[in-house]
Amino acid sequence: MTALPLDLQILNALAALLLLVSFAMLSQRRIVTLVSLLALQGALLCAATLLLAWRTGENHLYLSAALTLALKVIFLPWLLYRLIRRLGVYWDTEPLLNISGTMLVGLLIVVFAFGLAQPIAALASTAMRSAIGIAVAVVLLAFLTMITRRKAMSQVVGFLSMENGLFFGAMSATYGMPMIVELGVALDVLVAMLVLGVFFFQIREQFDSLDLHHLEALKEED
């Protein structure tokens, strides 16, 4: 067996850990831990970006890494922690599907994602093309997290984790998106987060709970 260069090995390990964190988020009941996992995912992403920037010498990746660190590791988790404290939502209710069932569905999704990414990976020429499958899997697992959760807070965490997956996908397929797009997405996420924070308070005001289940009854009775 020929050994890969060390930096590529570390990149692969980081990719595998990203996938693991996605599964941990899928199985987590406590919202506080969910946010910590999101921060951890951001940190892994930041480390991977830094390593890739060093390996390829693409300078704009350093900027992406700094952006990831500032936004996804520090600012957004801090904002979420604050929201959790102010709203007093520490636990999600039992997810729609039990945890073991969700994990098995998650495994099927990973297999699907790997199959989906195979042709894309064959076209890409980057060093990390095999990690595209993992990026797709992270996105789909974040989808699953959003689908199986009831509380608005966990759904937002799922949404942010999905953004992480997209970012990782862009990084492994083409060494990152153009800077302008990346800045735009970062700004979008930031604004979305701030707006959603206001929404949380509105939803709670209206229904005395953050359970999105209540929103389904919003349509007019006839």
């Binding site: 067996m1 020929t2 050994a3 890969l4 060390l6 090995q9 570390i10 692969n12 390990a13 990719a15 595998a16 850990l17 996938l19 693991l20 599964f23 199985s27 945890i99 073991s100 994990m103 098995l104 998650g106 495994l107 990973v110 297999v111 790997f114 095999s130 990690a131 499958g133 993992i134």
Partner: protein, 318 residues
């Protein structure tokens, strides 16, 4: 040729004798570490030997409605565990017995022991025995696929399902970061804890009726039968630890059957056992016992880790 075969047989016999003799010692060592970590005064390292000897000297009492199966079961279970010990490479990898059973057959061997244990527990018809047997089967059917997946990942890396070949291949491959092996190692540790009635799933030190699994199945046994079953339980822990070594820490095992190589391998093996025993005690001390109905979740996580290892191996080749 003949001389070599004789030496190989010697390795084989040495392995089985080491397993039979050292298994209670490993058990005692884990108990001792646990006691230290929990600030209790530790029982002697030789305590498992003493209790086994004491049990052998007692007269056996059998329930009046016990069938022959109840009496055969301890011998079958002990026999399967000893046979499993013969197949797993612990000190050396040149074993004449190993072509008989590869990793998958080994899982089957361990399952045989489980089936007999459960049947014997239900045989007398007490409530506790049945309860223990049912719980054991619940844990078993979840732990087995996880263990098989772990073995599959190692087989994928080394292109063989025979444990000695896996151990040799993994010991000789380039040093590097293998996320797949790391994931499967976590999965294997979880399976080891669940299968050996260790703390997150079962507490071996308790006779509290509502939580016990393994102890509940032994309640009807006494004297030599109980001694054999307890010895088999220590052997099971020893076997699992050795499977772990073969898959995740294959260094230092003798790859030839010369006496020098074996002599060099023995202390390393002892050292690995010391570390593993301490590690098991540490995990047990740090974790809390799960509710029985959380056990499937625990084992589903183990299965998940193993499958993730497999997928990561297939996709990243790492």
């Amino acid at each position: 040729m003949n001389a070599v075969t004789a030496l190989e047989w010697f390795t084989q016999v040495l392995e089985v004798i080491t397993a039979l003799a050292a298994a209670p010692l490993l058990f005692g060592w884990v108990n001792q570490c646990r006691a230290w970590l929990q600030n209790r005064s530790a029982p002697s390292l030789l305590q498992p030997y003493r209790s086994i000897r004491k049990l052998f000297h007692k007269d056996a009492v059998l329930a009046t409605n016990a069938s022959p199966l109840f009496r055969i079961a301890p011998y079958v279970i002990f026999g399967t565990m000893a046979a499993a010990a013969a197949v797993i490479p612990s000190v050396g990898t040149h074993l004449p017995f190993t072509p008989v059973a590869d990793g998958i057959a080994l899982v089957g061997l361990l399952a045989t022991a489980r089936v007999f244990q459960a049947l014997a527990a239900m045989d007398v018809g007490t409530a506790f025995g049945t309860l223990g047997a049912r719980r054991e089967m619940m844990i078993g059917f979840l732990a087995e696929p996880a263990l098989l997946m772990v073995i599959f990942v190692a087989s994928l890396l080394s292109a063989s399902t025979a444990l000695p070949a896996i151990a040799e291949q993994l010991a000789s491959q380039a040093v590097g970061i293998y996320p797949s092996l790391a994931f499967t190692a976590v999965a294997f540790t979880m399976v080891l804890l669940a299968e050996n009635a260790r703390i997150p799933v079962d507490n071996p030190a308790t006779h509290l009726e509502l939580t016990m699994i393994h102890e509940a199945m032994l309640l009807e046994y006494s004297a030599r039968h109980l001694a054999l079953l307890e010895w088999a339980a220590t052997l099971k822990l020893f076997n699992y630890t050795c499977i772990g070594f073969a898959l995740f820490a294959p260094w230092g095992t003798a790859h030839s059957e010369t006496p020098q190589a074996l002599l060099a391998a023995l202390p390393i093996f002892g050292l690995k056992l010391l570390v593993a025993g301490g590690g098991i005690a540490l995990v047990e001390t740090l974790s809390a016992k799960l509710r029985v109905f959380r056990a499937p979740e625990f084992l589903a996580t183990a299965f998940l880790f193993a499958v993730l290892g497999l997928l990561v191996r297939l996709l990243l080749g790492a």
